[in-house]
Symmetry: D2
Subunit: 302 residues, 4 copies
């Protein structure tokens, strides 16, 4: 188990042609775009990857194609978050066969779970499938905050190797960093782009940030500036990262984030802008707004 994770690990969007159909060539262009941008790994089927909205068949196809195309150049992590533990285990076993390097799981998200249920949940997931596991704290969507007691147990489990925190709550992050102490082999990633710089300064290992789908070089250099404690460069790049987030605020509704990223990827010629139903693509004025944001950003990007 000597998987070394760090840097920017984009929560890769899932390029789609139409209902339940991958945009295969778009997927390959997207992977090359991310590799060229210097990312430290790929994170498939997460929130930004629309994992929960895809059929199980397509989830498997995406992982299989991605692993084949990446061909071990960087680690591939697969999000197996589900409301049915049995489906999570089956997906984990399947993606292990495809060559994925690790799995990531947020708490089940239909009901809230108690701590003892979460403890048992992560123990099953860690014990009953072959890949190393990372915890994924995403209370805004799962309704459940992973409690410190569960993190403590995870730190002691040989097959749980790290954590992604998308709470955006720095107090929570600091508690985990304290709990982890010197266990820097147990990496911590943050999902929230606003928190990345600070989390890095505080000791986190990297970010799983949606914006890196579009501008992997920007995020990689931002990560590097943070890692180097180069505050001047960190702030210059932070300003750009904050401007990127305007892309997520075009349109309205929770799906605007994913639609915004996919629209920009389509404007960049990388992949189609289709989302899983019932979400539709941005068209007309929304697409023009995003194009204007993009054109304003491009001259400043690395």
């Amino acid at each position: 188990m000597n998987l070394q994770l760090s840097g920017i690990i984009p929560p890769m969007v899932t390029p789609l042609r139409s209902r339940d159909a991958l945009d295969e060539s778009g997927l390959e262009r997207l992977i090359e775009h991310l590799l060229a941008g210097g990312v430290g790994g790929l994170f498939l089927l997460g929130t930004t990857g629309e994992g929960p909205a895809l059929s199980y068949r397509l989830r498997r196809e995406l992982v299989e194609r991605t692993c084949r195309h990446v061909a071990k150049r960087i680690p591939v992590l697969v999000c197996i978050t589900d409301t049915a533990m049995v489906e999570s285990l089956e997906l984990a076993r399947a993606v292990a066969d495809f060559g994925a390097d690790a799995v990531v799981a947020a708490p089940p998200y239909y009901w809230q779970s108690t701590q003892s249920e979460l403890d048992r949940y992560y123990e099953c997931l860690a014990n009953e499938q072959p890949l190393p596991l990372l915890l994924y704290n995403m209370p805004g969507l799962t309704k459940t905050v992973i409690p410190m007691g569960t993190v403590q147990r995870a730190l002691e489990h040989p097959n749980i190797i790290g954590m992604k925190d998308s709470s955006g709550n720095l107090g929570y992050l600091h508690q985990i960093l304290r709990l982890r102490g010197t266990r820097t082999d147990w990496p911590l990633f943050v999902g929230d782009e606003e928190t990345l710089a600070y989390a890095m300064l505080a000791g986190a290992e990297g970010g799983v940030n949606g914006g890196a789908n579009m501008f992997p070089k920007l995020y990689s250099q931002f990560f590097q500036a943070c890692a180097n404690r180069d505050l001047k460069r960190m702030h210059d790049l932070q300003d750009l990262v904050v401007r990127v987030s305007d892309i997520y605020r075009a349109g309205s509704g929770a799906s605007a984030l994913i639609k915004g990223i996919k629209t920009v990827l389509s404007l960049l010629g990388i992949c189609a802008d289709v989302s899983a139903e019932p979400v539709t693509r941005f068209e007309g004025q929304d697409r023009e707004t995003l194009n204007a944001l993009l054109q304003n950003l491009l001259p400043f990007l690395p």
Copy 2:
């Protein structure tokens, strides 16, 4: 489409022997128990049925066995709520082949949906599978309230035949009743046991109440008293229904409701008390508490 739904339609628990394994004989006893109790239909794979926590394979097996055993004696409704629309459609097509009578869908529950997304969602579900569809409002778990505009469109769709509201919000219920107006062929069911009597007086057609798994006769007679506007009997039975809800408050956590019902069903000799992982059964003191509640209730039950 002359399916006539009314009365108590229990959100049937899914009897399990162990991980991903149905308790088949328990299932048959439970169905007979409910039929003997005078219920107006069965509602499978809902919240109380642990639908989201079961494998897709087991969901299909449950519906197939239930339809076969019920053999058209009462209507069988199947909840197809999912985060992936493609999986909902596939499940709906499968259960149509098994002989189910209708499907029911709450909004996708990972992200919140906008109204236009919900409109498209229900239109797809209504158009692209063969069974009549009911809306299911369950904002406590899905985070999305079905807006009146979506209900309005549903009222006009030939394949959407009614609605279940588990919001517990009487203002919402009244808005739907007003919107429905004279369309009493478009039945409205409520999930919340505390609201049932009032909803019935206000014009609703029945209840989908978890407690009816254990005590179908009580709920059927309660329904009948409400339907007959027999206020004296309604209140006597309401007192019992309120006492039943103590069963849901034993233990702690969101799973306590399902664990409480399954424990009582096990104490009554009907089916096993296993829940889908990571939820565990009640044991020791918790089971004794539930047994005491049950023994105190039994002498008063019809």
Copy 3:
């Protein structure tokens, strides 16, 4: 302490001429309008009465003038909810001198309180001022649900004489009714208009409903129909009460409810439509919308 409370006790709006200035003649007309409508008491300085938004000086003036004008024809209750217990006690002592009959207090609403803090809070309020006290559950605005343990202690305190519940949660209401048992001398009022009929059928003593400011006769007759278990009449009037609630949905924001009621009172020629700053009056299209709603309602009102 033989204050007998029942029926409709309107949460009276506070008629204002301008900042910190009562509309005195409007106040007198409003009181006469309510008395002519057959109400069972007045509830001053509550949520609908904009209590928290008024200066302490004006709160005292309102109570003094109201008590003088009512002249003991019906009981006057005064809401002393505050974030500072010392101010609540002082207000209670002042209104006792003016002739008020009881005080009502929701939990302090800046921070949430623990149960032991609430227990102490209500004990102080009940012991250290001369008037009988009613609990007021209003979690939507105070963030704190009054726990059953606190209600239990209140039932045993000689100076706590009843409760108003504005949670709109019927499960909560039923728990209180069970706890109260045969203590029907300890009246329970509900604030939520949608819940009133059901609460009455279940055993509550009346309602504190904002709409009764405008149409006291409607609410009094609705109360009477509920009290008489006259279901036919109850439903006819319930339909009107539901239509009244359209008035609260004109405009937007939390202040729309109070602005809607004050606009209608102004259209009816009863009092001015000024609210405490920073809330403004409805004008132009909003006022016309409310006038149209009013004109549509008037022919049907008792």
Copy 4:
């Protein structure tokens, strides 16, 4: 208006002897303790100062005594947050006479306000009393996030001179920093201790942090390290600040933060540990726990 605010401005606790009675000598010791710790100002009657829970009489007494004792050595800011705008204005005028330097106001906190109501609210507060005003964003307790449009207007108002943000939301902070742009004369302070270092690196002017009541030197040096971009020292001190926050987690309930700080101040011999009713002091085991935390911290503090 050349008030220059920066650094650590503690949200000073209000030392109390008993109900509605200041601990006058404790107050003087506390002020000297804070001055000796190098703070950049005092912030009275905020959340930590229990402002909303104190009588208006005592609020005035506290400000008068504090201004007299401080004698212009550092700026004194007074929180005038209230649910009644008239009371806020009166308090502001009174404290101007006592010699306070600025007032600070969060949105009214009983109802939520719309943006246009907030715009009018801050315009009134800025125009109708003599002191410069700072906005205070505290959505966790007021339920209302100050919208960017309101901040934009405040930036253009000559009598609104800065802002305190206690949301703990870095995305919000970044939006304000962008909006402010080069207006570094319009200082931004953060309330959340976990966010202080990052906010400082991003461009904020200082912190209003509860822990500075107890350990003003620690927070002042932390501020200085952040201001100097001395990352090594910043992290060493950040570790201590994170450990201080354990003090807020002793006991339970929202009042635990204030009780924890007052207990430690009492253990340090600075002032009494009485809180405004119905909150009680920590005693027995809780006090011992806090003493143990304090003794463990003391050797490491500057």
